[in-house]
């Protein structure tokens, strides 16, 4: 199972990233838990300075932008393969 974390204090972009992540997980039909990380001390643990950040299985895969569905699909399938 994948753990996907969306880092961000709740701005519009963070919410959109979360929606896209949900959509990709549904489309791939994989088991994944999507967690919102909104507190700054928790965000900073990932050493991310621009939000929204995307973390898959504790790996920061993107920061400061909203990756496309295709990109997120690749992030998730890569994580599944290496798991």
């Amino acid at each position: 199972m994948l753990t996907i974390k969306v880092l961000g204090s709740g701005c519009v972009n963070c919410k959109r990233l979360e929606q896209i992540a949900h959509k990709v997980v549904d489309e791939l039909g994989i088991e994944a838990q999507i967690v919102k990380v909104t507190e700054y001390p928790d965000i900073m643990k990932y050493n991310v300075m621009s939000t929204p950040g995307l973390v898959v299985n504790e790996k920061v895969v993107s920061a400061g932008r909203i990756p496309s569905e295709a990109e997120i699909t690749i992030f998730l399938t890569n994580a599944l393969e290496s798991a």
Partner: protein
């Protein structure tokens, strides 16, 4: 994301980089053609097709609208794309690594310059602030970045080029960076560290977090820039249209020099007043510039207008609320006070020298 196939075919059309660049070249050619036919098209539309008499109020307003709308939208899409492409090479991590080793002065200059060009949204102000402080970057240098980054707005920059020309857009850039450097230097000297919320200094990044390094191909950079251009232009589209609409009305109906008394050079209070009015107008920066461009034609002075615009983009209530999480009230007030004063002085300076 690069597959083996693309590595083999260096210069053939199956190489996504070649394909993307070909598309960019084609789009540039179309862009240049369109840009050159806007003026005749606008004149034909208002005075030919709609048969407005030359020099009539409505005719002038319509010609202004039909010319400025396509021109600004073209400029926005073309230039935002170019800027976005450039920005795929910069990120906050790299900037921090470069600023980290510099002292006061050079550090402020670099932070302000990078603040102007780094892709950045104000919702990231707090993580950035914490990240800089954690790396041991002095408060003043961190502020230099945090001041210029909202002050230098891509959309505002492009609209200034379209409506006022390169010189004014350059002045905007230059004064924004100067305000960032000077305000950062002043704030740095004020020894305000104790007004930073304590948790900022206590936080430590966990060392075992893996950050995936990105190696982008040209085709990925181009496709990302296309996406962000669509997003930005889509977001400001209606503001620009409405702004030009109001500007067109002013252009056609408000008498010449009507504003000299209120927004002209002689009205000394107009600079601080316009900075004050600009604070709550954050989200509408895109719509405001076409309006102020029409105001200039009616006697408003450039310094006043630039100060107004910088206040609209650089001093925003949401930003104040966000930064309250890491800055205690005395520092927060000083921070915004120093920026406001710097903007006002810039406005006066331009009113005097221009």
């Amino acid at each position: 994301m690069q597959t083996d196939l693309t590595k083999k075919s260096k210069l053939s059309f199956t190489n996504p980089d070649v394909r993307s660049w070909t598309l960019v070249a084609f789009a540039t050619a179309v862009w240049i053609y369109l840009y050159n036919v806007i003026q005749p098209f606008a004149n034909w539309l208002s005075y030919g097709l709609l048969a407005m008499p030359q020099g009539s109020h409505l005719g002038e307003a319509l010609a202004f609208f039909f010319y400025d709308t396509p021109k600004l939208l073209l400029l926005l899409s073309g230039m935002i794309f170019a800027i976005s492409l450039f920005q795929t090479f910069i990120d906050t991590q790299k900037v921090r690594a470069m600023v980290e080793k510099r002292g006061e002065g050079v550090g402020n200059l670099m932070a302000a310059l990078f603040g102007a060009i780094t892709p950045f949204c104000s919702c990231s102000s707090v993580p950035l602030f914490i990240g800089f402080v954690q790396a041991g970057i002095p408060l003043g240098i961190t502020f230099s970045f945090l001041i210029t980054s909202p002050l230098m707005n891509k959309v505002a920059f492009v609209l200034l080029i379209g409506l006022f020309g390169w010189k004014v857009a350059g002045l905007y850039l230059l004064s924004g960076v100067t305000i960032g450097i000077v305000s950062g230097l002043i704030l740095g000297r004020m020894k305000l560290e104790r007004y930073v919320e304590g948790f900022v200094y206590e936080m430590k990044p966990s060392a075992n977090v893996e950050v995936v390094e990105e190696k982008l191909t040209w085709s990925e950079r181009i496709s990302r820039s296309v996406d962000s251009t669509k997003e930005i232009v889509g977001k400001v589209f209606w503001f620009v249209i409405i702004g030009i609409g109001i500007g067109a009305f002013i252009h056609g109906y408000v008498p010449q020099d009507a504003l000299t008394g209120i927004m002209g050079k002689s009205a000394w209070w107009s600079v601080p007043a316009s900075v004050l009015v600009g604070i709550p107008l954050y989200s509408n920066a895109a719509g405001i510039i076409p309006i102020v461009s029409a105001l200039i034609a009616k006697g408003a002075s450039l310094g006043t207008v630039l100060a107004f615009m910088m206040s609209v983009v650089g001093l925003s209530l949401p930003e104040i609320i966000i930064l309250r999480r890491v800055l205690k009230p005395p520092l927060l007030i000083t921070f915004f006070g120093v920026i406001a004063v710097a903007i006002i002085l810039t406005g006066y300076l331009f009113n005097i020298i221009l």
